[in-house]
């Protein structure tokens, strides 16, 4: 991974401006695999700890959006419902347009957007947004355009790591963690 060493200070500066975190479902929340049994029933694996990352962002006023293009079933929706995330866009064909709509709706500019890319179809968006992230296990083309490559792979903590990264950069993580450890969260 040495050829993809990133300027951490620069990524931190970019993370300070983030107001929206957007990403696909597969390759980010999952490791792109699914189980299929002999009856054709499918099963997808997510990670519990990513949920605390999403919840932390939401509670601290950073919006989260799923731009779900790859789902075969409604697994992205199920996960969003469980996490009480309203902005889950299912079977999106044009992620760029959807993201532009979201920016307008929220009244933010591209530099306020963090986008996690997991394949070649994400590269254009990654070049456009303020903070572009790549999970540890994505292809080189995606890593090349990322501002920060997570240590954790997709579906194994990449999102949790990203949420901590943003909130630490914004100087809000420590207080939030202290509060949660004492009082829990609503």
């Amino acid at each position: 991974m040495t050829s993809f060493e990133k300027d951490l200070e620069k990524a931190i500066e970019k993370a300070k401006k983030v107001k929206l975190v957007a990403h696909d479902v597969h390759g980010v929340l999952t490791n792109n695999t699914f189980f299929c049994d002999i009856e054709g029933r499918r099963k997808y694996s997510f990670l519990h700890q990513d949920g605390f990352g999403h919840l932390s962002l939401k509670r601290l006023g950073i919006e989260v959006a799923f731009l779900d293009t790859t789902s075969i079933d409604n697994e992205g929706l199920y996960r969003a419902q469980e996490l009480k995330l309203e902005k889950c866009y299912h079977k999106v064909r044009d992620k760029m347009t959807k993201l532009e709509e979201l920016e307008q709706e929220l009244g933010i500019s591209p530099e306020n957007v963090c986008y996690v890319g997991c394949d070649v179809t994400d590269i254009n968006i990654m070049k456009r947004v303020g903070l572009a992230i790549a999970p540890a296990d994505v292809i080189d083309e995606v890593k090349r355009v990322a501002d920060y490559v997570t240590i954790a792979p997709g579906g194994r903590g990449a999102i949790r790591e990203l949420c901590e990264f943003i909130l630490k950069a914004q100087g809000r993580w420590e207080n939030w963690v202290e509060e949660v450890a004492k009082m829990g969260y609503k």
Binding site: K43, R156, E161, G184
Partner: protein, 198 residues
């Protein structure tokens, strides 16, 4: 690499092999334990959630933990689940492991206060097993705090004992053996369970 990537104050560190180990007084602490509180996700499970195509959720558990819970019970140590939200899966696992107390709240410290009040127990008579940042508050309070091998660095930092077993692979089994050996009850419990089953 461990399953968790993290930043330590934004200086990136890999958490895998940390220097954090079990505290020297872990056995002394374990001797006083009368009640074990278990976080579910990351302790009884490996944190993976499965969603089927029709929206059903499933998780992985270890049969080792069933023995762990049975052994604690046999020795007169009650175990309870304490997690942010009790789901139907948790209720089901509770019934299999014969756990009567299932607490669903993220305000874990106030729940501990309530249990202490109800049972007349003190902080040092509690063992808490947790893997997450949200568990660190209650872990600092109880007499014997335990973290699974693959817990977050924050949880490991406040743990008195770190199991060799990762979450979802028999943490409670290992812990039960540790506590009951410390209390000198292990051999009798094993003998009993070998005869009666569990």
């Amino acid at each position: 690499m461990g399953r968790r990537g993290s930043q330590d104050g934004l200086q990136i560190v890999r958490i895998e092999e940390t220097t954090m180990t079990t505290r020297a007084d872990a056995i002394e602490r374990a001797k006083k334990v009368k009640f074990v509180i278990l976080d579910i996700h990351g302790v009884l499970t490996d944190l993976t959630l499965y969603y089927t195509d029709d929206g059903k959720k499933s998780e992985i558990y270890s049969l080792h933990d069933r023995l762990g819970c049975a052994a604690l019970k046999e020795a007169g140590i009650e175990a309870a689940f304490l997690t942010s939200k009790i789901t139907r899966i948790d209720q089901y696992i509770g019934s299999i492991y014969k756990i009567d107390r299932l607490y669903g709240t993220s305000a874990k410290i106030s729940q501990l206060d309530e249990i202490e009040k109800e049972l007349g127990l003190t902080d040092e008579e509690f063992c808490y097993v947790g893997d997450e940042i949200i568990d660190t508050g209650i872990m600092k309070r109880v007499g014997f705090a335990v973290a699974p091998a693959d817990a977050t660095a924050e949880a490991k930092a406040v743990a008195d004992y770190i199991t060799k077993t990762p979450g979802g692979r028999g943490v409670v089994r290992e812990l039960a053996e540790f506590i009951l050996k410390a209390q000198g009850k292990w051999d009798a419990v094993v003998e009993k369970l070998s005869k009666t089953g569990y």
